[in-house]
């Protein structure tokens, strides 16, 4: 997993609540067997006027020159709801995003992001509103996020956020969750030994 310590980048606002994973990466792009190449199709239906992705929609923020190279996304409530597709954080990361700031996230998306080095930051609806105002007044403003200090700095605004300490540790160090769990094989085996037959049975 890609480490996240301190990041500064252009923030792009998407002023909608309930941006679901079908919008982030539509299903026609899920027909792949690897994790790469999804960034090109991020927000496909909003970003392009045609299916072949040759005509960018000039109205969509990601296509505006002031947000070129954006790496921080700012949105409203319940970001990433809907389908469990991990292709959503893969697409956001593939495009170049390192963090998403919103008042709330859907649970599965939130977990998927943390597992991929994409930092989902929850701030209060009022704080997010303040950020939207700054980004509207000064498009192209950069945001600095420190996972070390758990802070977000935008223009003159300063916020702090929370993250589960273990998740934070893994992200700061870029740790692989499977290797960490495999250090506990013994506990898992002990647990399995105590299981009732009806549960342990499976498909055998």
């Amino acid at each position: 997993m890609q480490k996240f310590t301190v990041h500064t980048g252009v923030a792009v606002p998407l002023d909608s609540a309930n941006i679901d994973t079908d919008q982030i990466i539509p299903k026609q792009f899920l027909l792949a067997v690897d994790r790469n190449g999804f960034g090109a199709h991020l927000f496909h239906d909003w970003r392009y006027l045609d299916d072949a992705e040759t005509k960018p929609n000039p109205e969509f923020n990601l296509n505006k020159p002031e947000y070129k190279g954006a790496t921080v996304l700012v949105a409203r409530d319940n970001f990433g709801n809907g389908s469990s597709r991990e292709h959503a954080p893969w697409a956001l990361m593939g495009y170049g995003f390192r963090a998403v700031i919103a008042p709330s996230f859907a649970d599965i998306f939130y977990n998927n992001s943390l597992g991929n080095g994409l930092l989902p930051i929850k701030l209060s609806a009022e704080d997010v509103d303040e950020i939207f105002k700054v980004l509207e007044a000064k498009p192209g403003t950069q945001i600095t996020i420190s996972l070390e200090d758990m802070t977000v700095d935008v223009d003159t605004l300063h916020f702090t956020f929370d993250l589960d300490p273990f998740r934070r540790h893994c992200m700061l160090e870029g740790l692989d969750a499977i290797s960490l769990t495999l250090q506990h094989q013994e506990e898992i085996t002990d647990y399995e030994k105590k299981m009732d037959n009806w549960r342990a049975h499976g498909t055998l």
Binding site: S16, D22, Q23, R35, G82, S83, D107, I108, P165, I178
Partner: protein
């Protein structure tokens, strides 16, 4: 203090917890399908790992297969690649796989229960958000991403924090023409699409007790649509009866022992929930969605809302955006809105009971002339065979429906079952998101019986007219 059903299942699965970390839970079952597994299998292989417990995995394909013909050739070239990957991966890693033509090929969330792979008191995951379905059995079941799929494959565990608990008590008995689907759409409308975020929900009350397992699965299936990770129902005689004798259900003494334990899986009288919601299920009417998220629903007899009905500016904007997209006018009655396509199927409503209820309405009727396409897509080979044995396929076909092969189909339109731009679909699926059933398509979610009524009328209709 007593425990809730969720807490009982959660606590019994904690394998270990390190200081300052989330608990690691044992995962009893994982369902695998073609779309969210290839990258997980590839990760396992690249790291030189194997599946810790291949026997606790079950695989089939559903998301992107053709429903016209049960062959790999009938699928798109990209889908073929995913199906072939699933076939070779399950073979390589020793995972049980159900292929075309088998009773147990179909929508994963229908296959788990019908094989008895899904059991009360277990933890069950799948790389699909509608895994909440299995909560109907009193399992702690939730959708996960592909990295987590790989984690379960390698370790049979997942780190999971404790969720808050919510009780949704559904009082009274559902009236004629009102089904589990109407109940869950009413619940989502009340709670909004994010109302359950961070919660494990337990559905209870008379209306839930009176549901069959099929109905309960419809209810749990859509828990995710109001943001709840899990939607559980305490197992009872209905559950045990359903499971007895199924392929992977415990047998003989093991079954009796299991039932004895399963009977303890209910929230204690003195358990405290973080939130309690009561729904007067007995007074509900058939429900349909009018917008572009599952929370934007109303009784079929209602009028299309207007943005001024909502005080929260963000909700009001969502309403306006939704009405623009779905092309409905505030103040117009929902009933009578012309419909172009009808889709009956999906993990929400692709079970035998769903086709029985729709067939009851369709019998002796024809679909309206303006309906361009009406498809009935059984959720599994077994559902299809059973429906055909009961003659339901003939009722659908005589009414003008196409009787298809099992798969997810137009619920997410990853195969060629798509609705074109501007087409309005009466759909028994679970999501009415923008473009979900095809770019520019307009979805109205509803029960199978209501979908059948809409097919006959060629418009949004009140199914109670046909009862």
């Amino acid at each position: 203090m007593g425990k809730t059903l969720y807490q009982k299942v959660y606590d019994s699965h904690v394998v270990f917890q390190q200081e300052g970390e989330l608990p690691t839970l044992y995962i009893d079952r994982q369902l695998v399908h073609e779309v969210t597994s290839p990258q997980a299998f590839a990760g396992i292989e690249a790291a030189g790992r194997k599946l810790r417990r291949p026997d606790l995995h079950l695989a089939t394909m559903d998301h992107d297969i053709s429903t016209k013909e049960q062959t790999i050739e009938a699928c798109s070239p990209m889908a073929q690649e995913q199906i072939k990957a699933l076939m070779s991966n399950t073979k390589k890693f020793g995972v049980k796989f159900f292929g075309f033509g088998e009773d147990n090929q179909g929508v994963v969330h229908i296959i788990g229960p019908q094989t008895g792979f899904t059991l009360p008191g277990t933890t069950l995951v799948c790389g699909d958000s509608h895994t909440a379905t299995h909560g109907a059995f009193g399992a702690l079941a939730f959708g996960i991403g592909t990295s987590e799929v790989e984690h379960v494959m390698a370790t049979q565990t997942l780190k999971q924090g404790r969720l808050k608990t919510m009780k949704i008590e559904c009082t009274g008995s559902l009236q004629k023409g009102v089904f589990a689907k109407d109940l869950i759409l009413a619940i989502i409308a009340k709670l909004t699409t994010a109302g359950g975020t961070g919660y494990a929900v337990e559905f209870c009350g008379q209306a839930v007790r009176e549901l069959t397992m099929e109905g309960r699965m419809t209810l749990s299936n859509m828990a995710i649509e109001f943001g709840a990770k899990a939607g559980m129902i305490a197992p009872d005689e209905t559950t045990f009866e359903y499971l007895k004798g199924r392929m992977y259900s415990p047998k003989g003494e093991d079954f009796d022992k299991a039932v004895e334990y399963w009977k303890t899986l209910k929230s204690d009288d003195d358990a405290v929930f973080d939130k309690v919601v009561t729904i007067d299920a007995g007074s509900l009417e058939p429900f349909v969605t009018w917008g572009t998220n599952p929370g934007q629903g109303a009784p079929i007899t209602a009028k299309v809302p207007s943005e001024s009905d909502f005080s929260d500016p963000i909700v009001a904007k969502s309403c306006k955006d939704a009405l623009d997209y779905i092309a409905l006018k505030s103040g117009d009655p929902l009933i009578g809105t012309p419909v172009d396509y009808v889709f009956i199927g999906s993990c929400t409503n692709g079970r035998i009971e769903d086709f029985r209820e729709a067939a009851k309405i369709l019998k002796g009727h024809k679909i309206a002339k303006n309906i361009q396409l009406a498809i009935a897509v059984p959720g599994s080979g077994l559902v299809k065979r059973q429906a055909e044995a009961e003659g339901l396929d003939k009722i659908f076909i005589e009414a003008g429906f196409e009787w298809r092969q099992p798969g997810c189909s137009m619920c997410l339109a990853m195969n060629d079952d798509k609705a074109p731009v501007g087409v309005r679909v009466a759909s028994t699926s679970n999501r009415n998101f923008v473009g979900r059933q095809g770019k520019g398509s307009r979805t109205h979610l509803m029960s199978p019986a209501t979908a059948a009524a809409c097919a006959i009328k060629g418009a949004l209709a009140d199914v109670r007219e046909f009862i």
